[in-house]
């Protein structure tokens, strides 16, 4: 068992893990709750491609058995891969990796308004309003003390004249926040891909800063000697050393120049065509981050042009938006996500990384154009989910989850389970998860 002092000096000061009076009150809390897994788990990191606005499952990954008005139903599906998963023809690249996808068609329990829905889809299971990313980081601990463990990646690359915004998450800071968990578990928000982390550049030369840090250590040692039992003092000294390491680690992690010079990578992630260049870049960055131990990366979809004029996100309320926006939204993520899956696989990282695709709710009603909390589709890939598999089903029209319904909180519990974390045992100061959370074993390979 790791001792508190070891923990403090080596891990605690890492970004994303911190000391609070109560957290440090007890050796056992630190050792038992922050580090060891509850059971073996495959997933070490999660990349969440968040579809802002609530994607219509009927046009993407859940083909309805009956369509009330064919005029409002412009897209077709194909059986894809060995598994024969039915996927909309809007996603030709994802169709080609269908055998890696686990499509969950029976999500329910979403809140059918955007702002609340966004908060709910990321925090529903938690009794203290902490986001899924914060819990993953809390449960697994930092995988790299030199990088933030929880990242929200937004922004556009230079030369993107296509997307209309940087991408964002409904519910704002709360959706990626720490809730009642220590605040440093909240996501580091990247809005500028060129300058992802504030204050990262040291005004001093390396040698000078190293000397300065040594002096800081010496200064703090005097104060610590007065209070040897206050462990967080050492932890704070260590946080400066971690920051120092981050100065090199973060720019290295965010520097994609070497990879993007390679034509194969450019094609794989779609870094050249306008519709995919920003999304592709962010997913490539996400891969670099998880490769370096970052636990949870959220990449939100962006506002894209409407083929029939204007722009929009996945909140498609009118036939014009369905016809004009959905194809562009699909195109924006199709190649990059398929590329990400392929890339992770080639690097042997797909087993330890979970990719999630989904929004804050589903859609139903006339032409699948209304908000719907009773059915939504997410898909996952990697991380030990059952590949080439469709879990659950909706009714004939695709409005209500009827077979193996899986609540938003169950999705959280299941994702955490795949990380080796049991929501029944995961808590902070004794407060943890909604007791009604169930793990959907059916989607785990």
């Amino acid at each position: 068992m790791i001792t508190r002092r070891d923990f403090l000096s080596h891990v605690a000061a890492a970004p994303g893990i911190l000391a609070t009076g109560s957290l440090w009150a007890d050796d056992r809390i630190v050792a038992a709750k922050s580090l060891p897994l509850h059971h073996p788990g495959k997933v070490k990191s999660i990349i969440f491609y968040y579809c802002k606005g609530g994607p219509a499952q009927a046009h993407t990954f859940d083909k309805p058995r009956s369509v009330a008005d064919p005029l409002l139903y412009p897209f077709s599906f194909s059986k894809s891969g060995q598994s024969g998963l039915e996927i909309s023809n809007l996603f030709p690249r994802l169709q080609s990796v269908a055998d890696d996808l686990c499509i969950i068609r029976s999500g329910y329990g979403a809140v059918a308004t955007h702002n609340e829905g966004g908060i709910h889809i990321f925090t529903a299971a938690s009794k203290i309003g902490a986001s899924l990313g914060a819990w993953v980081l809390h449960g697994l601990g930092s995988g790299n003390p030199n990088l933030p463990g929880h990242v929200l990646l937004t922004g556009r690359v230079l030369g993107d004249k296509w997307a209309h915004d940087n991408g964002s998450v409904h519910g704002g800071a709360r959706s990626v926040g720490a809730g009642g968990l220590p605040p440093s578990l909240q996501a580091q928000v990247v809005t500028d891909l060129e300058h992802p982390i504030d204050n990262i550049v040291s005004p001093f030369a390396e040698a000078q800063q190293s000397r300065w840090l040594a002096e800081l250590g010496a200064l703090n040692a005097g104060f610590s000697a007065r209070h040897p039992h206050v462990a967080e003092l050492d932890s704070r000294t260590e946080s400066f050393r971690a920051a120092h390491r981050m100065q090199t680690a973060a720019p290295e992690a965010f520097d994609i120049a070497k990879e993007t010079a390679h034509p194969v990578m450019r094609t794989l992630y779609g870094l050249d065509p306008q519709p995919t260049r920003s999304t592709g870049t962010k997913l490539l960055l996400a891969r670099r981050l998880v490769e370096r131990g970052v636990r949870f990366v959220v990449v939100p979809s962006m506002n894209v042009p409407n083929l029939e004029g204007g722009s929009g996100d996945w909140d498609t309320h009118t036939p014009t938006q369905v016809r004009g926006v959905i194809p562009n939204l699909a195109q924006a993520c199709d190649q990059p996500l398929a590329g990400l899956i392929t890339d992770l696989k080639q690097r042997g990282l797909l087993e330890s990384t979970l990719i999630v695709w989904g929004g804050e709710m589903g859609r139903g009603g006339a032409g699948h154009m209304n908000h719907n909390g009773s059915a939504f589709t997410w898909w996952m890939a990697g991380g030990g989910v059952r590949p080439g598999f469709a879990y659950g089903a909706t009714d004939d029209q695709g409005f209500t989850a009827v077979e193996n319904p899986i609540h938003v909180r169950d999705l959280h519990a299941t994702i955490l389970w795949m990380c080796g974390l049991d929501v029944a045992r995961l808590n902070h100061n004794g407060i943890g998860f909604d007791t009604t959370c169930k793990v959907a074993r059916g989607i785990i390979a």
Binding site: T113, A218, F240
Partner: protein, 1039 residues
């Protein structure tokens, strides 16, 4: 059919498993394999029929309700039947029995109403039972045995068990309400085995033998009660024949353990004369074997108390004065000075703001916004003037209905404070969610009253009776009515007169209604004009296409012209990829112009300002053209900008006025109405759907009686509006226009607005005793007075919550470490009698916060050093007995105060002034755990992270910037060497003199620096040393 009966056998086996377990496994197999199990076992009334009726029919057909005159809980009342269909069954003739007929649909009314039909197997069971003669096979008991049950068992069951083990959602699936359900048991198996108490789970649970201990949380049954249950099970669980099910809904009960909980007891009447904080702690120190630490040295003591009371460090002058003041009351004088400083109110007001979601707003999803700055200033004033805490609590419920503290008739500040509990989150998305979100908002009102004022979790009872505290769901809705009956918003009123305030509110509401009425009028009239003209709007729109075409084409030509210039420029600069991008755009634009199709114009399409003049998402054509010095193009583009904006406004106007222009005589009436709407909008200065903007100076926020309507009333009101030719719908404002509501709230089943139940009269929670409030209007004033009524349990809670938090702010940890949950779910304090003692003296000192703070700060406990003896640490590692002071990191505000003070040498009166002085002040809030706007915060976290370190270490304006400013302020000249100013630096930054070790460290720092860098710039050396202290640990921690 075979399958069905097979299933029934299995059901019987699980139900009466005790019975079957005694048969041999062979018998078990034999029965399972025989299809017609009924041949050997007739349908049982007790085990099968009764439970089925209970499950599917008796939510309506039980003795107290008897829907349709029918009671299906007993054989004789079933035989009697209901009002319409005569006897419920005819023995032996199922097809002629109404009970079966209504289930199969052979007779009206079909049953069950509003629920799923019974399964075929279930109907079949009833049919079979009637066929077999409809007999009651229930075990019969002697009247003595039943009397025993009534005397010894029933009262215990109903007092201790029916809080949870009742109805469909019974805890662990176990219902203890009928003999059958006890034998059937729950998820853990049968609760009792007939005649065998030793094998009965129920007995094990009430004996507290194993892991399962019942009743939960205290209240163990007495030995005699346990013995009675044993005898009862021995006797075979006798049960009255005429009352098979004792309860159908969970019963709220208050237990002795509830009454004995430390925070729910009344406060002691008075304290012994010898009582003091130190006297209360002493026996604990002796018991645990702790030696209290010495009093802290004078520097550290002054630093601690100055930060704790004002949030600022002491100045070197203050330090000098205190250290040299050898009079015995030196410390008392300091405390008096600090309590009298304006910063005391800022600091302690801030502690309170944590419990009000910052009293803040400015977030788009929280409407009507509060004037949080004014509120914060008022809070600071209340603390500085030491207004009594009980009054302060009352103001937060009914400040608008109370006299002003200053003696006037009315206080806008108090009305604003009263609005704080309603400052919940809210969106205006559509009517379905509006009611839902509205509910959440009210929820936060009850939550505030519980958590912030009383320190308990009232809001837990929204969906069900509180699982741990004596608060029922009914209590919750009884309180909700007070909040539902009131409203707050920005009203142009700045007065000390109640009459004027009321008039302003009335006028404000009238304006809102008038605006809504006019909006409805315009919409409706314009629809009629449009339709009567055969689609006038579209006709007009189509007429525009020919007019717009040449302009549209010209605009495209202009874009092409800009592109051509850009290509030429890019090629000149050899920017190949840019040129290629522009080229492909050019090709596409030219092709599209050659095949010109007019666009589908609508007001959105016509919004070309972004395209022409630019937007944050990209530069517009004008900028692109002017960057390349195309003055001609720029001039023409500017004309286009005006043209298209005018056109767009016309489109909007035509659609608003049914196809007419605003100045057309046909719509003169409507144009007048429109002008009036604009005028009203200006006067109201409020749009709940819009982003929050700074209020007009004359607009102050008030709370007043009369709230929003209940969800279920929206529909009828809407119909009423329609009948009057008005359309209230499709407007974010529409709930505002409905008549205001004063009345009781409706209980919501499972807390869900979609399932409203009975009205619950406004009242205070039953636990706190009978209180007959004479409600005036919303009743908030009476609620407020009740909350702090002399010698009441609720007032005791308010006092305990306050003293517990004051202790927390002065020791870093509260006496009860869950300061917004003093109820049974919270942590048990080690020293409840100390909380009670402080509370009694707090109340007897007129709820004076300053006296309370003074009392704690002057205790020896507060003044002790935070250095702990090695031997004492293991005896009290968490410092729960306060034999030493704590080491704690400063919160964000004192950190920022310190930086501001170092830079300027000033103690600021308000946070605004302070923030103006420190560059990047907001960064400190983000890095050092500033409070969230979303939650009621009961403790600040003190996080440690690398981004914090980066912020201090690498940002030019933080540590290094402040260091430079401090050096300038202290007028340290560039010829001065570090050793000469070490003392000044320590006094200013750490508020103490340097020790020999510190001087030695400074000396060695210099040597090492010179050795490694070869540089000897004296000023740089000092600056780096100061920066080091600013980044170090000691400055951020209170000892």
């Amino acid at each position: 059919m075979n399958g069905v009966h097979f299933l029934l056998v299995t059901v019987i086996m699980t139900v009466e498993s005790n019975h079957w377990l005694h048969r041999s496994p062979l018998v078990f197999l034999w029965i399972a394999l025989i299809p017609w199990a009924s041949a050997i076992e007739p349908a049982s009334f007790e085990r099968e029929v009764m439970p089925l009726l209970e499950k599917r029919c008796n939510k309506c057909h039980y003795p107290q309700e008897q829907r349709g005159g029918l009671d299906l809980t007993r054989l004789d009342t079933m035989r009697r039947g209901g009002d319409d269909l005569g006897p419920g069954f005819i023995a032996g003739k199922p097809d002629e029995s109404p009970l079966i007929q209504v289930l199969t649909g052979a007779k009206e009314p079909t049953m069950p109403k509003k629920a799923e039909k019974l399964a075929a197997a279930e109907i079949d069971l009833l049919r079979r039972w009637i066929e077999e003669g409809a007999k009651d096979d229930s075990t019969k008991f002697s009247s003595e045995d039943v009397a025993f049950f009534e005397r010894e068992i029933r009262p215990v069951l109903s007092t201790y068990c029916f809080k949870c083990h009742v109805g469909e959602e019974a805890e662990h699936g176990l219902q203890l309400t009928s003999r059958h359900s006890i034998l059937a048991g729950g998820q853990r198996g049968p609760a009792a085995v007939v005649g065998k108490p030793e094998e009965s789970l129920l007995i094990k649970a009430i004996r507290h033998e194993g892991e399962l201990k019942m009743p939960r949380r205290g209240d163990r049954l007495g030995d005699a009660q346990v013995a009675a249950f044993e005898r009862w099970i021995e006797k075979g669980l006798p049960w009255p024949a005429n009352e098979r099910v004792l309860a159908r809904e969970k019963q709220f009960t208050i237990s002795d353990a509830d009454r004995k909980h430390w925070a729910f007891r009344p406060l002691p009447k008075d304290l012994p004369a010898s009582w003091s904080i130190d006297a209360a702690l002493k026996p604990h120190h002796e018991r645990v074997g702790l030696t209290p630490s010495e009093e802290a040295d004078r520097h550290r003591l002054l630093r601690r108390v100055t930060f704790d009371l004002t949030g600022y460090p002491p100045s070197p002058e203050e330090m000098g004065a205190f250290v040299n003041d050898l009079a015995p009351d030196g410390f008392e004088k300091v405390v008096t000075r600090l309590l009298d400083s304006p910063q005391f109110g800022q600091r302690w007001g801030r502690h309170w703001l944590d419990y009000t979601r910052n009293g803040a707003n400015a977030l788009s999803n929280r409407g009507p916004a509060l004037d949080s700055q004014r509120y914060a200033e008022w809070v600071a004033r209340c603390f500085n003037e030491d207004r009594p805490w009980d009054w302060f609590a009352r103001v937060h419920l009914a400040g608008d209905k109370m006299k002003a503290f200053e003696g006037d008739d009315y206080s806008v500040d108090q009305a604003l404070a009263a609005a704080v509990p309603l400052n919940g989150q809210r969106t205006f998305e559509d009517i379905g969610t509006q009611t839902f979100v509205l509910m959440d908002k009210l929820d936060e009102g009850v939550e505030f009253m519980g958590r912030s004022l009383m320190g308990i979790s009232l809001e837990c009872s929204r969906c069900h009776d509180h699982k741990f505290d004596p608060i029922s769901q009914r209590d919750y809705y009884a309180l909700l009515g007070f909040f539902q009956s009131s409203w707050f918003g920005p009203v142009p009123v700045n007065t000390k007169s109640r009459a004027e305030a009321d008039a302003a509110v009335t006028k404000h509401r009238d304006l809102l209604s008038e605006k809504m009425r006019l909006e409805g009028l315009i919409r409706y009239a314009s629809l009629k004009l449009n339709v009567s003209g055969g689609g006038r709007v579209n006709q007009w729109r189509e007429s525009r296409i020919a007019i717009l075409t040449p302009m549209d084409k010209r605009l495209r030509e202009l874009e092409i012209a800009v592109l051509r210039v850009e290509i030429a420029d890019a090629e000149k600069k050899n920017a190949k990829s840019l040129a290629a991008d522009c080229q492909s755009a050019l090709v596409e634009r030219v092709a599209s112009l050659n095949n010109y199709q007019p666009p589908k114009y609508d007001p959105k399409e016509l919004a070309r300002a972004h395209f022409i003049a630019g937007h944050k998402s990209g530069p517009g054509l004008i900028k692109r053209a002017s960057d390349l010095q195309q003055t001609e193009l720029v001039r023409e583009l500017e004309q286009h900008l005006t043209y298209w904006e005018d056109e767009r406004m016309q489109w909007i106007e035509r659609s608003r006025f049914g196809g007419f222009g605003k100045s057309d005589p046909e719509v003169a009436e409507l144009a007048k109405a429109d002008a009036r709407i604009e005028q009203i909008a200006g006067e109201l200065n409020v749009n709940p759907a819009a982003q929050w903007t700074e209020p007009k100076k004359s607009h102050l926020y008030v709370r007043t009686d009369g709230g929003l309507r209940r969800a279920e009333e929206l529909k009828p009101l809407e119909e009423k509006a329609k009948a009057a030719g008005l359309d209230f719908n499709n407007s974010a404002n529409h709930v505002w226009a409905h008549p205001y509501f004063v009345g009781d709230a409706r209980l919501l089943l499972r807390g869900d607005v979609l399932y409203p139940d009975k009205l619950v009269p406004r009242a205070t929670p039953v636990f706190f005793g009978e209180s007959k409030l004479e409600l005036d209007g919303s009743g908030r004033l009476q609620l407020a007075e009740w909350l702090t009524a002399n010698d009441s349990t609720q007032a005791a809670l308010v006092a305990r919550a306050a003293v517990n938090r004051a202790w927390q702010h002065l020791f870093g940890e509260a006496l009860c470490r869950t300061p917004k949950e003093l109820g049974r779910l919270g942590e048990q304090p080690e020293l409840p009698e100390l909380i009670d003692g402080l509370a009694v003296s707090f109340v007897s000192n007129g709820w004076s916060m300053k006296k309370l703070v003074r009392q704690i700060v002057l205790s020896s406990a507060y003044r002790r050093s935070s250095v702990v003896a090695e031997a004492d640490l293991p005896k009290d590692p968490d410092n729960r007995y306060f034999a030493r002071q704590s080491v704690r990191r400063l919160e964000y505000e004192p950190i920022l105060n310190t930086m501001a003070w170092l830079k300027s040498g000033t103690h600021f009166d308000t946070p605004m002034q302070r923030d103006a002085v420190v560059p990047g002040a907001i960064g400190y809030a983000q890095q050092f755990d500033g409070p969230s706007l979303y939650n009621l915060i009961d403790r600040r976290v003190a996080s440690i992270s690398a981004t914090q370190a980066l912020f201090l270490m690498n940002n030019r304006s933080t540590a290094r910037g402040i260091a430079a400013d401090l050096i300038n302020r202290l007028e340290i000249h560039s010829q001065v060497a570090l050793p000469d100013v070490v003392s000044t630096i320590y006094e200013n930054i750490l508020q103490r003199f340097p020790t020999d070790t510190d001087r030695d460290f400074a000396q060695r720092f210099l040597e090492r620096r010179r050795q490694q860098t070869g540089a000897t710039q004296l000023k740089d050396e000092i600056r780096e040393f100061v920066t080091l202290l600013l980044c170090g640990n000691e400055i951020l921690y209170i000892e």
